[in-house]
């Protein structure tokens, strides 16, 4: 792992000097600003059971759908297309280091984006001064959920990017995968609840795929081990596949 830091620094530097990084960040903040404002007006008009800050975290899926593919589509696919993966892979660097550095850079960026949304909460706190609006426990839980689920979402993006040398294909793949695990997981449960007796294994898998439920739980201050295991092991499996793809795919095409 001696090259991990060198590679990560390089990734971060490339992120910092490319204008796309800042454009994406601004777009993200604008979209999330509107979402936040929306929850705010709603909570004024109708009294809700949660604080607007926590409600806001629960709309995590909206930015995840567009920001995860955008953030990760370039990472490996673009290096494969331009051939810089070849110059990288012919130095004493291992595929593990490459994948982990790409993942870490994208993850750090993703977390930075979310940390910036914390400013919304701060602004709200200053102007509202209402303890009902600002409840620290749901916020801590909510941002923990974001950090935790980010492992899985970003590794989905990295994995998609390792499959192809076409950025667009990578983006579509990661969008599809994120969509499936977020939306389909929820709908399957509804469907399962309506008609019973399914194989136990299937039920168990679906029980892990409760990303909305996890968001709900975390923002209510309920922290379980099951989601932690789910996100971390999911990320580990996907990153392992990515490492494998980097090692073998060069030889094919």
């Amino acid at each position: 792992m001696r090259h991990f830091i060198t590679l990560l620094k390089h990734e971060l530097r490339v992120l910092l000097i490319s204008p796309g990084t800042y454009i994406a960040a601004i777009l993200f903040l604008i979209v999330m600003g509107f979402v936040f404002q929306d929850y705010l007006t709603e909570s004024i008009n109708a009294s809700r059971k949660h604080s607007p800050g926590a409600e806001f975290i629960r709309s995590f899926w909206l930015p995840v759908f567009f920001i995860v593919p955008l953030l990760t589509m370039k990472s490996i696919a673009e290096e494969r297309r331009t051939g810089t993966l070849e110059t990288l892979m012919t130095t004493p660097v291992t595929p593990i280091e490459i994948v982990l550095s790409k993942f870490s850079a994208a993850y750090l960026y993703y977390i930075c984006l979310w940390i910036m949304t914390f400013s919304f909460q701060v602004v709200l706190y200053y102007f509202a001064q209402d303890p009902k609006l600002i409840d620290p426990a749901p916020l801590i839980g909510g941002y923990t959920f974001i950090a935790l689920s980010g492992f899985l979402f970003i590794s989905i993006g990295i994995f998609s990017s390792s499959l192809t040398k076409n950025q667009l294909v990578a983006a579509i793949l990661s969008f599809a995968m994120v969509f499936i695990i977020i939306i389909v997981g929820r709908n399957l449960t509804d469907w399962f609840n309506q008609n019973g007796n399914h194989p136990l294994l299937l039920r168990q898998i679906v029980e892990y795929l409760q990303i909305f439920q996890h968001a709900e739980d975390f923002t209510s201050g309920v922290v379980e081990t099951r989601p932690v295991v789910f996100y971390l092991s999911g990320a580990a499996v996907l990153l392992t596949f990515s490492i494998f793809m980097i090692e073998t795919r060069n030889s094919k095409n």
Partner: protein
């Protein structure tokens, strides 16, 4: 471990892309300090072979050893020994030249104390000093090429592999790269592929010509000339009757063939070619004979040294003739697809 003299040893290398075979049983070795030129027509399998040597691709079968280290089993250890510049010379567009080399120096595990010196040295050797602060994406092709070469020699590895390094360079730079390669001769083993054959002839100790994934010729340029050129050509400039010359020369050696277009220049001299048996020099005899022919004036006679290009054409043509079926994978896949 490194007492054996061979820095690269390749045995029965085979590489298939799906059904097309790119490399088809190649074996060769490169000695320490030797510079080997890799020639072959487009699609011969040069780049594929180089990619396998550098550990970027896995071979379908066969063994590659770099300084006695099997690449398949110990890729990282083998990669430490190699400086590689791929085909098309991919570089990150956003970085500055020096930044890029600094990053590469770290990745190549050059100790901190030596890093600066090595970077300066590589910049100097590739004449990049003045461009060291420029952004790579904005450099001209030739400059980018030099950045690629600087990167390959950066860690002063035992082996340097460069895939078409002189493509896109201006004549000054080609001479410079030639001198650079010459200055590294004896210290590092090199494999260089190129389609610029005079370059290869001037820089390389040995040439390997591959075609259709097989080695079709191997040796020093001179030994290849002996093997593949079956005539010796003499060029002469004469003034006089061509038909009587033919009869006259037949007296000297009736295997000599004369061709010439008979287009005389302003002074009445025309150029002719005399083809004789291979691997012997009859210049003196021919010259004496020509000067003794009455009514014939000779202005010049020289023995034409076959270029590497002619050797290359002869060698690849011979291999196409012998292994005619499935010689050109590109073409067959094209037909399959359409």
């Amino acid at each position: 471990m490194e007492n054996s003299n061979k820095t690269i040893e390749v045995t029965d290398l085979v590489k298939n892309y799906g059904r097309t075979s790119a490399v088809n049983g190649i074996s060769f070795a490169v000695r320490k300090g030797e510079i080997v030129g890799f020639l072959g027509p487009n699609g011969a399998g040069k780049s594929t072979t180089m990619r396998i040597l550098t550990g970027f691709m896995h071979a379908t079968s066969g063994i590659v050893k770099i300084c006695d280290i099997p690449v398949a089993a110990h890729p990282v250890a083998a990669k430490r020994k190699i400086g590689y510049m791929p085909e098309n010379n991919p570089l990150p567009e956003e970085l500055r030249v020096r930044e890029y080399l600094k990053w590469r120096a770290k990745l190549k595990e050059i100790p901190f104390r030596k890093r600066r010196k090595r970077i300066e040295k590589a910049l100097e050797l590739c004449d990049l000093k003045r461009a060291s602060h420029r952004i790579i994406g904005r450099l001209s092709k030739g400059y980018r090429q030099r950045v690629g070469i600087a990167d390959a020699i950066l860690s002063q590895p035992d082996i340097i592999i460069m895939d078409e390094p002189t493509i896109g360079l201006d004549p000054h730079q080609i001479v410079m790269i030639r001198d650079l390669i010459a200055s590294l001769r004896g210290r590092m083993s090199m494999i260089i592929s190129s389609h610029i054959l005079p370059e290869i002839e001037m820089t390389c100790d040995r040439v390997i010509i591959i075609n259709g994934g097989r080695i079709v010729a191997e040796g020093t340029p001179d030994s290849l000339r002996k093997d593949f050129i079956d005539t010796t050509v003499y060029q002469a400039e004469i003034q006089g009757d061509l038909t009587s010359l033919k009869e006259n020369l037949a007296k000297l050696d009736d295997s000599l063939e004369i061709t010439g277009n008979g287009n005389a220049d302003t002074e009445g001299f025309s150029e002719i070619q005399i083809k004789g048996a291979a691997n012997q020099n009859q210049s003196e005899n021919i010259l004496q004979h020509l000067t003794n022919i009455p009514n014939l004036r000779v202005r010049a006679l020289n023995k034409h040294k076959p270029t590497l290009e002619e050797v290359f054409l002869a060698a690849t043509k011979r291999s196409w003739d012998t292994l005619l079926p499935d010689t050109d994978p590109d073409e067959s896949t094209f037909i399959n697809q359409s």
